[in-house]
Subunit: 209 residues, 2 copies
């Protein structure tokens, strides 16, 4: 297998943390998003949607999308589980992974991609050009603030995002919090549960991936 | 188990089609999104994020998010599979389910929620108020057009969205195409593969769910 990564980007980081938690080492190719390598003819054959991460399988097929790549690796390397141990726990992990993406990661991405100078004409990930919408950047910032409150509430009753198990939902949430810091959105000062969780998950060796 | 539905909405429709394909019958509660029942104190206890679908389990726990609900039901009722038969096929189904959501369903939702009069102050699903952004509605319409082309290309080489198997990715894509028709976005006339697939999946009895 071969892993197409970009060391500086939040989405492939979710896979890097997953690999570190599992102790999996893969041949890794860096895709230079800064210079637009994701739009090259060579990379479009790997993923026509022009985003990383991508996993190349031993049969030459390609998988993209974080949840799909991690699910595949979970089946090949089941221990330690990062998706859950029972049908209900697995569904709860998938639920929280989806909530963190929609309420957190995509909101940070809206705020980031619709405001930074380097993406003026490329506000949506992928091969097509879209101009930035400053109002959407502002909406994204507000939504991230609401997401942090939501997560703080969830973590008042749970050690981890989806319950007692450290899972892909924690990885997604860690990526969201650190991505938000790129555009100077901090966790609310009164979010004690979120701060406690963030300190815990950031201390895991995988967090440096 | 109990299924919290809204008969007119696209997201719970994905679960309704899934249930019909599996031949599962569940006690069903209609949540009246039109009158704002999702914001009631009673429903916030069921899902604080104020969206349907929700599945109430026999132990009283609640699951939301389409992918999580369907994954849970797939484990309880494995046949016929709607998630895939091998690790690679399951990952490919999850990948396409995610692509259809991000490139298709969320783009239609951007176009719809940022333009219809009933949602002037509620342009983002959930309990918080956000004003509509007309530019985002326009961007959403363009993105849906690009999504239809992308899907047409994928269906040139595959009977179904994620390969030869009818799966949750087809259900998501069917919901996206029909949701797009609400705001008069049609499949491109030259998208012959997409039209062939749409005719096939719409003919399944589950499509009327």
């Amino acid at each position: 297998m071969k892993f197409y990564d970009c060391k500086t980007a939040p989405s492939p980081r979710r896979v890097r943390i997953f690999l570190a938690e599992k102790g999996i080492e893969l041949e890794t190719v860096q895709v230079d998003l800064g210079s637009g390598e994701q739009f090259s003819a060579a990379f479009r054959k790997i993923n026509p949607d022009c985003v990383v991460p991508v996993l190349e399988l031993d049969n030459g097929h390609y998988l993209s999308e974080v949840v799909a790549i991690c699910h595949y690796l979970e089946e090949l390397y089941p221990e330690p589980t990062l998706f859950g141990r029972t049908p209900e726990e697995r569904a709860t992990v998938l639920m929280w992974n989806a909530k963190v993406e929609q309420l957190g990661l995509w909101a940070v991405a809206d705020a980031f991609r619709n405001s930074v100078k380097a993406l003026t004409n490329n506000a949506v990930p992928g091969p097509d050009n879209y101009l930035q919408i400053p109002e959407l950047a502002e909406r994204g910032r507000k939504r991230v603030g609401q997401f942090f409150k939501r997560l703080d509430g969830q973590l008042a009753d749970n050690d981890h995002v989806a319950g007692d198990l450290y899972s892909v939902a924690d990885i997604a949430a860690l990526a969201a919090v650190d991505f938000a810091s790129w555009i100077k959105i901090k966790m609310p000062e009164d979010a004690a549960n979120l701060a406690r969780w963030y300190e815990q998950v950031s201390r895991r060796p995988s967090a440096s991936a």
